[in-house]
Amino acid sequence: MRTSKLRLKAGLLLLLLALIVALPGCAGATPAATEEATAAPTEEAAPKVCPGDGSEGKLTVLEWAYYEVLDMSADFCDAHPNVDVTFNFGASDEDIFAKTQAGSGEDVMHFYTPFLKFYVDEGLIQPLDTTKLTHWGEVPKKFQDLCTLDGKVYCVPWDWGYTSVLYRTDKIPEGVDSWAALTDEKYDGHVSMWDSGPGAVSIGSYIKGYDEANLTDDQLADIKQLWIDQRPLNAFYWTSEPELVEGFTTGDVWLAYAWNGAYYSLLSSGVPVAYANPKEGRNSWVGQYAISAKSENVDLALAFLDGKIAEKTATNLLTQYAYGHVNPAAYGAVTDESLIEALSLDDPTELDRTNFTVPITFDDFQKFVGMWAEVKAAP
């Protein structure tokens, strides 16, 4: 009696599980209307993007979740539909670096400034032959320079965006004109800073007027104290944009260190926000694609990188995912007012006033991270 009841419950729980496992199968049967349906049946279920038969060669990419969609490799797949491109995922820049260092073996990696130097210093990526990149010339010099170290080009810049102070115009009608607003006591409990040591050091150096690329230990200690003092004013350190967007929408956050993605989301949903033009200048981050030093598919990898900076991919990134792309040829295709506003696409001089995140050494990176941990642990 007891056992049969038990068997019944166990059986039903198994049924529940079977259903959960089968649900993906049901979903797969529904005709997928968007290009997002990718997986052709293979033994390895890792996402494959180009819709061909994989006969032309193989390429692996270490990517961020959701960047593996066809839209973001449109030009490459058009030119090489039969390449088997598979993606492995990292959860963050640090994760991607750690995985690469651990020897995860992908051909191509996607990371953001300021990580470039780590890869170069550790010999993890190889210099690129830009003559093989047909679209390299379309990329503005400022972006090209970000990928150049010691005269050699190590990566292809791809996505970019701004960082500035985002604030609610209804809560702060007087506006914001400086990064120092993040440390202003007037906004006690309503500030949100990005949870990142290197990020904090960048902004700290803007506020204090230090040279970000050449900080002395004393200057670093100053910056640390600045953030310790700022901590009580800060509601939370955000780690992802939805978190930040939520904070602005509910009114918990009045001003924050923010990427333009959050700005765009909030504008689109009607929350009254503005993106400051601080006197110290905005910051900009850039995403970069590089080829592993150990890659055996260098030509395919180069073609992949080339496809990334081509026009169709650029247009997709801008119009469908609201991220900036380095190739200005695509800017004309953007019609979304909020997006033009968010990326200042109509003002090409904005980039000149912007401080691009500088590549730093691994040692400095660790120092900055340590500083940030100490800020959090301070009594």
């Binding site: 959960i20 649900l23 890792a46 995922f89 959860a91 609201a322």
Partner: protein, 271 residues
């Protein structure tokens, strides 16, 4: 029967259930919210997040991966835990305390550290990271739970039953199968449930020890970067919830129908 009677008990239970399900209610509202950010009062209602979610092949496959890993690791943890619990509570042998300490130690180690440690181990052994390595890690961290639950249950049982059976000529395997296991079966189910829950929603180990096909929590975390994809993810969470409840209600109903006699008997001697 001499027990405490509080009219407040059922109220207490109800209050707890309410508190537990309140966030679920909020998630539900979020999943039908017409818009990306959520605040009160809501702006509009839509079902397009659910439709988007079902078409999202990656999301579905992440769900399947989570289920697979959770089932495998929870079954393994329950089996290993049951065997060890029986040995620890029924036999004397050297090294009991050491084993127990080692078995419970996964609870002392943040998953983060275990994740990195296992990453190093697998890389050193040249084993590829995959759902298998995640399942291995999940078994390690679930084992303390299954062990504790089963040991607590076994400690109370009088071993004389087993000794009697063996004095009457039963072999140990027979005793195990026919006496011990049926007696701890409910506890095994409880242990399995805990292990499954631990694995299904586990993020840290699943992130470090996998490559390629993410489990659901890792996928969700990755989606947090895209505010416009977020509601789909919430829609899925709600759907899984609804599915669990439905199946659960069916199970409950079937039990009522199927075991009248058993129920009567238990009520009879349970006063």
């Amino acid at each position: 029967m001499n027990k405490l009677r509080f009219p407040a008990f059922p109220l207490y239970y109800a209050a707890l259930v309410l508190m537990l399900y309140l966030p679920i209610g909020v998630l539900f509202l979020f999943s039908i919210n017409d818009g990306i950010a959520f605040s009160f009062p809501m702006k509009g209602v839509t079902d397009h997040w659910y439709r988007d979610m079902l078409k999202n092949a990656e999301l579905m496959s992440a769900l399947g991966n989570s289920a697979l890993v959770a089932v495998t690791s929870s079954v393994a943890a329950t089996a290993l835990g049951a065997a060890a619990a029986i040995a620890l509570t029924r036999f004397d042998f050297k090294g009991k305390a050491i084993f127990l300490a080692a078995a419970l130690m996964p609870l002392l180690v943040p998953f983060l550290i275990l994740g990195v440690a296992l990453l190093i181990l697998f890389a050193a052994l040249d084993i590829d990271r995959s759902l298998v390595t995640v399942a291995i890690a999940h078994t390690v961290v679930s084992l303390p739970y299954t062990l504790l639950i089963l040991m607590a249950r076994l400690v109370g049982f009088d071993p004389k039953l087993e000794e009697a059976a063996q004095d009457l000529g039963a072999t140990y395997p027979y005793t195990l199968r026919r006496i011990i296991l049926p007696l701890i079966a409910p506890a095994m189910l409880a242990a399995w449930l805990v292990a499954f829950t631990v694995s299904f929603d586990e993020f840290v180990l699943a992130s470090f020890l996998n490559k390629g096909e993410p489990t659901l929590p890792v996928y969700i975390f990755g989606q947090l970067r895209f505010a416009n994809r977020f509601p789909q993810v919430v829609a899925l969470a709600v759907l899984v919830m609804v599915l669990s409840i439905t199946l659960f209600l069916i199970s409950n109903w079937l039990q009522r129908i199927g075991s009248q006699a058993a129920l009567e008997q238990r009520l009879g001697d349970g006063k």
